[in-house]
């Protein structure tokens, strides 16, 4: 994990020219797939993540259905060509764990008891990976769920805080993730102010945990604004078009 690469230079800039509290370029598009009930494409730096939501639909297999709520089936998967060394298409232990923590990051936001005995599928496909795929996946999945018309308390917005050269930074990229000292992905329901994903590897002081939450506040708001913009775009474009023709 550690290396001899200098991750922050004398001017305080990171390997890709960003300052510690800067996010990478974020682009979100909602409703990109015809077949899915809801969908989103997120580009965060070099990450490209596509999420399709199908549902609610009849639970398959029937015995996994819960009598009083919907069950979310979440699959996080990385395409073989998404990383430097080809990744086998078989689900790895990492993908299985991420499928679970991502599902648990989205569940608090969905009104599951509005759809008893059904299943909601969240299929996440990482087309290109460059650090922070789980946070970008959550960001995309929340958009796809809302795009599908599924009842939610709030969106879920996510970003990772990291530690490089002893300093906390926002939104680790691939190199920083590999050679840095710590990675702390955080997802929140931004309006309700609840944390739904919180993990870390590497070593952090107790104070750095507090600082991380302070640092994450603005980036989360920024992600949320982009999510909202993406969801409204299609409908607002129709209104504009209609008004233009009048």
């Amino acid at each position: 994990m550690k290396g001899n690469i200098k991750l922050i230079d004398e001017n305080g800039k990171r390997v890709d020219g960003r300052y510690p509290n800067e996010m990478r370029r974020l682009r979100i598009e909602a409703g990109v797939l015809k077949n899915a009930d809801g969908s989103a494409l997120v580009e965060l730096g070099n990450n490209k993540i596509l999420v399709a939501v199908y549902g609610p639909h009849e639970a398959i297999p029937k015995y996994v259905a819960e009598p009083d709520r919907a069950v979310i089936r979440c699959r996080y998967s990385m395409a073989p060509f998404s990383v430097d060394e080809r990744k086998s298409p078989n689900p790895s232990r990492r993908e299985i764990e991420l499928s679970m923590v991502i599902r648990q990051a989205l569940e608090p936001a969905v009104f599951l008891n509005e759809y008893p005995r059904t299943m909601i599928d969240v299929f996440i496909e990482v087309l290109e990976a460059d650090g922070g795929t789980r946070t970008a996946s959550i960001t995309a999945a929340a958009v796809a769920l809302a795009d599908a018309g599924i009842a939610m308390r709030d969106l879920v917005s996510a970003i990772a805080i990291g530690k490089v050269d002893g300093r906390l930074v926002v939104d680790l990229n691939g190199i920083e993730d590999q050679y840095g000292e710590g990675d702390m992905p955080i997802a929140m329901m931004p309006q309700l102010n609840y944390v739904t994903l919180f993990q870390a590897d590497g070593v952090f002081t107790p104070q750095e945990i507090e600082e991380a939450f302070r640092m994450v506040s603005d980036p989360i708001k920024k992600v949320y604004r982009e999510q909202k913009k993406a969801l409204k775009k299609k409908y607002e474009e129709v209104v504009e078009e209609v008004e233009k023709n009048e």
């Binding site: 599908a148 009842a151 969106l155 931004p190």
Partner: protein, 237 residues
Amino acid sequence: MPVYVENRQIVVPGDPIADKNRFTVEGKVYERNGKYYSKVLGVVFVDRDSRKVNVVTLKGKYIPKPGDVVIGKVVEVGLTNWIVDINSPYPAVLPLTEVYSKPTSIARNELSKILDVGDIIAAKIISFDYARDPLITIKESRLGKVKKGLLVEVSPSKIPRVIGRKGSMISMIKEMLNVDLLVGQNGRIVIIGDDKDRVELAALVIKKIEREAHTSGLTDRVKEFITVKLSQIGGGD
């Protein structure tokens, strides 16, 4: 400020809509600490005169409601019932007893002679309580197997707009295009008419309504759209 949104504003889940007890808030909202929030990606209708706010979803599956007329597709023939796809996470059950008003004796393996897999039917939801799949009936008049027509599917949340206030939109389409429309609350519509061009035009109109359902002035625009298209067809191919 008791209301946080404007008429026809697009909202996302979690957006604050209005304070409790100031306006009547209806639709896809939930309450928290004295405030109402949107539950869905939807459009808000605010009527300051009648002090009403309504959040309508832009998309979403059909959830069965007793009394609704739906257009279904038979997917399974059972021993004493049929399983019908009604474009919902909950497949509908049509018991044999809900087909004829009078008691009839039908041999158990003859169900497919009445309704077979692939048949389109207009049915009514009798009951639905989440714990069991919805029950439907085709006993009433205007219900039953749909023998001809063009089937169009739209998002169920747009059906009210296709019907229009007091049926104004649907009446206009029927009159102007000389077609009959069988509208299912589950987003499925059957267009019946003798003129193929007009039937297809009706389908186009319905899709246009689906796309622009959240805008204002839709009825007039649709009227103009039909008029223009009719003149094109009328001109002959």
